[in-house]
């Protein structure tokens, strides 16, 4: 552990361009996946929060269950679709960062949808009377809930980002862990582990953890600044 910590510090301080390339690709892929998953997932979550229909319970069970999607299964499904012999093969997206973004988006959209649905539904119970008195449309209700729940929803987005940036099973299949093209932190860690360079693998793990800390710290500070402004 001590060796790894020392190595992690050295790697960061050395400003190794290969390391930064991997770090930036990890961030780019997972942040874009989180953004797209939020657009889709929040729409689904807020719609479910304000809707009553037959079979709603079953839909919720399915979405909640999809939170446990194994990354390697998502990777396989995306691979089979993007493969040159698959239905979307003509796009030529396999072994590109785009393929990794697609896989991570599929992986975390259910998480965003399921968690935001719960939060917004609780909020909807509080607001139900006001919504009725204003005669708000369903879209209006969804917008109001999303806006008022925005700080709680940030945590939901972070949960999605955390899952995306930490997974290796999906991106290693659809990205191929190609040096200077699709190698991200988790696939680099897997590679160094398989080379038996355990201290370097652990050092990369520590750097990944630090990135997660920085992203979470940044969101936390944005939230507290915004909360102060909102209630000032």
């Amino acid at each position: 552990m001590g060796d790894a910590l020392h190595l992690a510090g050295q790697l960061v301080l050395s400003g190794d361009p290969d390391l930064w390339e991997i770090v930036l690709l990890s961030l780019r892929v997972s942040l874009i996946a989180t953004l797209i998953a939020c657009i889709i997932g929040l729409a689904i979550g807020s719609l479910l929060a304000v809707s009553q229909f037959r079979g709603r319970g079953a839909v919720l069970v399915v979405i909640n269950a999809l939170m446990g999607l194994p990354p390697v299964v998502v990777g396989l499904i995306v691979y089979l679709n993007l493969s040159r012999s698959g239905p979307l093969g003509f796009l030529g997206l396999l072994y590109t960062p785009t393929a990794m973004i697609i896989a991570q988006t599929i992986l975390i959209t259910p998480i965003i949808a399921a968690l935001s649905r719960q939060i917004l539904e609780d909020l909807n119970h509080e607001y139900a009377e006001q919504f009725r008195s204003f005669g708000l449309s369903r879209i209006g209700q969804m917008k109001a809930l999303l806006w008022d729940g925005r700080f709680a929803l940030l945590t939901v987005a972070l949960a999605g980002f955390g899952r995306a940036v930490a997974e290796v099973g999906a991106v290693i299949i659809v990205g191929g862990n190609i040096d200077h093209l699709t190698r991200v932190m988790t696939t680099a860690i897997a590679l160094e582990t398989s080379k038996g360079d355990l201290p370097l693998a652990l050092a990369l793990g520590m750097i990944l953890l630090t990135i997660a800390l920085v992203v979470n710290g940044f969101v936390q500070s944005v939230r507290s600044t915004a909360t102060r402004a909102a209630y000032a």
């Binding site: 796009l91 072994y95 590109t96 191929g176 862990n177 398989s194 080379k195 038996g196």
Partner: protein
Amino acid sequence: MKLIPLILAAFGATAAQAADSIIVQSTTSTANSGLYEAILPTFKDTSGITVNVVAVGTGQAIRNAENCDGDVLLVHAKPSEEKFVASGGGLERTDLMYNDFVVVGPANDPAQVASATNITDALTKIANAGTLFTSRGDDSGTHKKERVLWAAANLTPADASGTWYRETGSGMGATLNAAVGMGAYTLTDRATWISFQNKSDFKILLEGDETLFNQYGVILVNPDKCPNVDATSGQAFIDWLLSDAGQSAIAGYKLDGQQLFFPNAPK
């Protein structure tokens, strides 16, 4: 669905094949040993072609190539490679380089493999003693070779799967990590072993048997079957590997003073 191309465009996503680049489906043994990092920059300098290597087991590499997901196949399981070519998946198969397989194990050598006369004797000793042996179990080139060796010794270790015969279903490095972790014997290619850094007290206990020869071959994925294949750049890469320049680049790659791969392309 209209949104997807839009989103892709917005983030400047580019297809791997957009620039002058090819995808090589290859094995963990060649990639983990650092061979590609050593020789690819030279090829890039002379040709301007970027080679993107996907490192998986030989079995998976061939399946990916059968799905047209690659331009060149560089693996080590001659019978499977010939089947791939015969079924129209690839054009010509050419010998590229070789090294050999070795049996590694803990220094205390409980099954006395070091005193074995050949690989058949070594495997028989391991099976009779019932000492732990980790197998790749992933249909890779090394796994294919290992199964041939057990069969040649008239042994069926699969019957003992889960007891002394442990199938990891993982790459060579992960299997070596597992072997070191549980003090088990395993079969590995020499290049991965030399470059492996978590050896603990493990060492080579059996080597030099001529049946442990490990031949690598290179194949261009059939552009008639797979129109996406960049036959020009793919063939340029293969031609370079087989040329004097490519062959001496392979021979020149050394780790700890040891040569990892021995070029043997036909002249």
